[in-house]
């Protein structure tokens, strides 16, 4: 949470809004921010901390752990049309890597900008070559992209 808050400017530059969700009440969110997160971030948590006490959101997003009454770690990237473009769900002991989220946002925004005319191959980052899917590319990806390009 605090790891993302410190890098929120990167998401601002990409025009991405954040919502964090747990089964804690909004009251608990408030106290967590005040007693702990404000000591780990410059200005606290700058996005809405959503409360999903009954797990209704977690269930429909496939992250609600019925046995423990919590939402496991899940990250969903939603485009301006309200379409889910990416999702990643992890079991509790392992945290996420923020840089990978940023990479995927760059890639999905690039694809959207080209209206799907370009695709981003494995490991793509801004500045790297994209693919232009079409009949001419079938069987010839090797001519324009090799595994070491990842």
């Amino acid at each position: 949470m605090s790891a993302v808050a410190g890098k929120k400017d990167q998401l601002d530059e990409l025009g991405v809004e954040i919502l964090s969700v747990s089964t804690d009440s909004a009251f608990v969110h408030k106290i967590w921010e005040e007693v702990e997160l404000k000591k780990m971030t410059k200005d606290g948590i700058p996005w809405p901390m959503v409360s999903d006490g009954a797990g209704n959101l977690g269930r429909v997003y496939g992250v609600y752990d019925e046995a423990n009454g919590v939402n496991i770690r899940g990250r969903f990237l939603i485009d301006p049309d309200g379409v889910v473009q990416a999702m990643e769900v992890l079991t509790p002991p392992v945290g996420r890597k923020f840089a990978e989220t940023i990479r995927q946002i760059h890639a999905f925004q690039h694809v959207r900008k080209t209206k799907g005319a370009e695709a981003c191959p494995a490991g793509w980052e801004p500045g790297k070559k994209t693919l232009k899917p079409g009949p001419d590319l079938v069987g010839r990806v090797w001519e324009v992209w090799q595994p070491e390009d990842e």
Binding site: I18, D24, A26, P48, S51, Y61, P80, P92
Partner: protein, 84 residues
């Protein structure tokens, strides 16, 4: 997103535009089928919801569909005061 009056009840989030999942149904596939209880999937519409939230000192209500036209990152996590 107006402020909600703060009371003693425990408000919670609600899934919009479809039958909200209930405890009874959760162990099995909903009998009513995918039309009424669409799970999230890539390439599909993000399930809309309305839920209470805390934001910069205020208690607010967040509705996902209010964010249409913007990129949104939703991050679920196990709980406040956890370590990862």
């Amino acid at each position: 997103m107006p402020d909600e009056p703060v009371g003693c009840a425990r408000p919670t989030g609600t899934v919009l535009g479809q039958d909200a999942p209930s405890e009874e149904k959760s162990e099995e596939q909903p009998k009513t089928g995918v039309e009424s209880m669409a799970m999230v999937k890539v390439g599909g519409k993000a399930p809309d919801f309305e839920a209470p939230a805390y934001h910069k000192g205020e208690f607010i209500t967040v509705k996902l569909s209010d964010y249409l036209g913007k990129w949104v990152l939703i991050c679920f996590y196990p709980g406040d005061f956890t370590f990862v």
